[in-house]
């Protein structure tokens, strides 16, 4: 900052301030530049800026690169009152600040039941026992010598949108839909490991168990295990993050996040499910008649508009980009429709970027907005012909107490001033 004229600093502050004002009800802009628009030259252009004159940090000043300091509000956030303790809790991916289909590793939402286990990979062991010919123990070094594959998959917590069953509750897509992330995993097909141990013919279920302080355990049907399940040690090209199960986690494509056991230390083969706490007390769907569905593993097709949304209101009339994400645990997303008038009329959105099996897809509607009130919704359709239902349609079948698997259509109300809020429409 040394040697800078005061007007410059003022101008810059005004610029940053205005940019940071995002939807505090300030007057809507039409044009996109703040200065320069009124015929006065923009000092950001006419005056030499610090970063244009003085040398920046050299290489190795940031040995592990982190986002720009101007992005420091792009973080996971939690809702403290949701849970009894932060060690058994959840935080949420800031979907409204992301684009494309890959979630940066440090922004992937977290859900732990006994805190983050910190395990030196040299101390980690994976055991396979139960109905196998030869119970085995693997080290991480063993696993890294096995044939591996790379796959992009979404992971959605079954409780994503779980607070919204009774109506609009949380004002932000980070909170209503942020228990999802989508990364590229590198790992070994589980079948490779099971073949090493040799499954006995009566092995019908597996139990996956974590090495954390919750000793997380879940039962997994053998057909799924042999089909596409991976034992992953890397995400987005580098080692798993500790909060995502470092050094080893299960990847169960398209199925609810709780099954993706982190800090995976043991796989037991058996002839029936274990009925663990996480598949009975939790992750079962209580319906209106008092009965409950269990083993509801697959995540149905779902989508959400991430921009605009309550944390990302519209700032300008005229040109805008409406965008969002869609996914299905049953296959690929075939189409995403968007409505601006609360479901009276729909148009198909433009899907851009890779369309992969059981992965997020990114969609856009390039929008001219004249300041009219909008009720924005999106609806996903998948390769099996499943169409994302309205919340009302879901409630008709399931009531309001099932907590899990709420894939109903989300409504954002955009007001004339661009402010956007989570509403329920009827």
């Amino acid at each position: 900052m040394s040697g800078k004229p005061a007007t410059d600093i003022l101008n810059r502050r005004r610029f940053l301030g205005a940019a940071g004002l995002a939807g505090t009800g300030a007057a809507l802009g039409v044009a996109s530049a703040f200065a320069g628009a009124g015929g006065k030259p923009d000092p950001l252009i006419t005056e030499v800026q610090d970063w244009n004159r003085y040398l920046g940090d050299g290489v190795q000043s940031r040995p592990y690169g982190t986002p720009s300091k101007f992005e420091k509000d792009v973080v996971r956030r939690d809702v403290p009152w949701l849970t009894a303790s932060p060690e058994s809790s959840v935080n949420f991916t800031p979907l409204h600040r992301l684009d494309g289909i890959i979630t940066p590793s440090g922004l992937c939402f977290e859900r732990h039941h006994g805190g983050i286990a910190e395990i030196d990979p040299a101390d980690h062991r994976l055991m396979i026992n139960g109905l196998v010919d030869k119970p085995l123990v693997f080290t991480m070094e063993d696993i890294r010598r096995m044939p591996r594959v790379n796959k992009v998959y979404f992971l959605e917590c079954a409780a994503n949108s779980g607070m919204e069953w009774r109506g609009a509750q949380l004002n932000g897509c980070q909170f209503t839909h942020g228990m999802i992330h989508n990364v590229m995993y590198t790992g070994v097909p589980l079948k490779v490991l099971l073949d090493e141990a040799g499954l006995k013919p009566n092995a019908k279920w597996l139990m996956l168990e974590g090495a954390d302080a919750a000793g997380m355990n879940r039962s997994l049907p053998i057909e799924k295990a042999l089909n596409d399940v991976l034992i992953a040690f890397a995400m987005n090209g580098e080692a798993l993050r500790p909060e995502q199960g470092y050094p080893l986690r299960a990847v169960i494509p398209g199925w609810e996040g709780n099954l993706w056991v982190k800090w995976l230390r043991r796989i037991e083969a058996g002839d029936q499910p274990w009925q663990t706490r996480e598949e009975t007390s939790k992750y079962t769907d209580l319906l209106a008649d008092g009965r409950s569905r269990k083993h509801t593993f697959v995540m149905d097709a779902k989508s959400v508009v991430t921009n605009p949304s309550p944390q990302a209101p519209l700032k300008y009339k005229g040109r805008n980009v409406l965008t969002g994400v869609a996914w299905s645990g049953r296959g690929t997303v075939k189409r995403v429709d968007v409505t601006l008038d609360g479901g009276r009329n729909w148009q198909s959105a433009r899907i851009d970027g890779p369309v992969l099996d059981k992965s997020l897809v990114r969609f856009y509607v390039d929008l001219d907005w004249n300041g009219q009130e909008m009720m924005i919704q999106s609806r996903a359709m998948d390769s099996t012909g499943y169409v994302q239902p309205t919340k009302e349609e879901l409630r008709k079948v399931r009531g309001v107490n099932s907590i899990y698997h709420n894939n109903g259509i989300q409504t954002w109300l955009v007001r004339a001033d661009g402010e956007t809020e989570n509403v329920e429409i009827g």
């Binding site: 939690d78 009894a84 909170f175 490779v192 269990k294």
Partner: protein, 230 residues
């Protein structure tokens, strides 16, 4: 096909189908190719399996030899569990209630506990042995786990006699009140109508009205009240 046509064809398939097929093949192929033995890993020793394989199933498989009564469990529970779960399992603050709630599953606000909801008694043993007390997991002896399970079941009227000795032989005969209320995933039939050929695109409904607003509920971070996530 001309080169151009081939190119166009590839573009049409582009990114989606073509890549998907390519990627799809890989996990299966890799598994198939390695289905001989890799010679990696070493045999798990009986002591190692015994140390980790503590899981218990509804049919009693996995139960260790041991015993305990609700009366003994009461003492342990007050010492090691009640600070979070309450003297009678009613739950303290946001810590879960583990007793009560019988008959509330159809109510507006169901109270799901071990007694009102859980289908299997074995889950109590398996879960507390692996993860309770919270913050000092895997510290319970087998007899302590039997006693505490008996006490939790006693608080829930599943085991009526506080002197009843729960052990590995009689455990599987304990039946839970809500066991019959669980059934497998039937979404593909019960929700068949969510598979639709041509969802409506034009004039699909009457003018919508706002009937609920998140800002009126006012539970977005920093507020104290609100729903619970399990």
């Amino acid at each position: 096909m001309s080169r151009l046509a081939k190119l166009l064809f590839a573009v049409v398939l582009g990114g989606s189908l073509a890549t998907t097929l390519l990627l799809e093949a890989s996990a299966q192929q890799v598994a198939a190719r390695s289905s001989g033995k890799l010679g990696l890993g070493r045999p798990a020793l009986p002591e190692e399996i015994k140390a980790w394989d503590t899981d218990v199933r509804p049919d009693g498989k996995g139960l260790p030899v041991g015993k305990g009564t609700a009366k003994e469990g009461d003492v342990l529970f007050q010492e090691r569990c009640a600070s979070c779960h309450g003297e009678f399992g009613q739950g303290v603050g946001r810590y879960p209630a583990i007793a009560g709630g019988i008959g509330t599953l159809k109510a507006d606000r169901p109270d799901k506990t071990v007694g009102s909801f859980w289908p299997d008694a074995s889950t109590v043993f398996d879960y507390i042995k692996r993860s309770m007390p919270f913050g000092n997991a895997q510290s319970l002896t087998d007899d302590e786990a039997y006693s505490l399970t008996a006490y939790i079941l006693n608080m829930n009227d599943v085991i009526k006699d506080e002197n009843f000795e729960l052990n590995e032989k009689n455990f599987a005969s304990v039946k839970m009140p809500n066991a019959a209320a669980f059934y497998g995933d039937d979404r593909e039939t019960a929700e068949k109508h969510f598979w639709k050929k041509d969802p409506c695109m034009k004039d699909c409904r009457t003018a919508p009205k706002v009937i609920g607003r998140a800002v009126s509920v006012d539970v977005t971070p920093d507020s104290k009240a609100g729903p619970k996530v399990d």
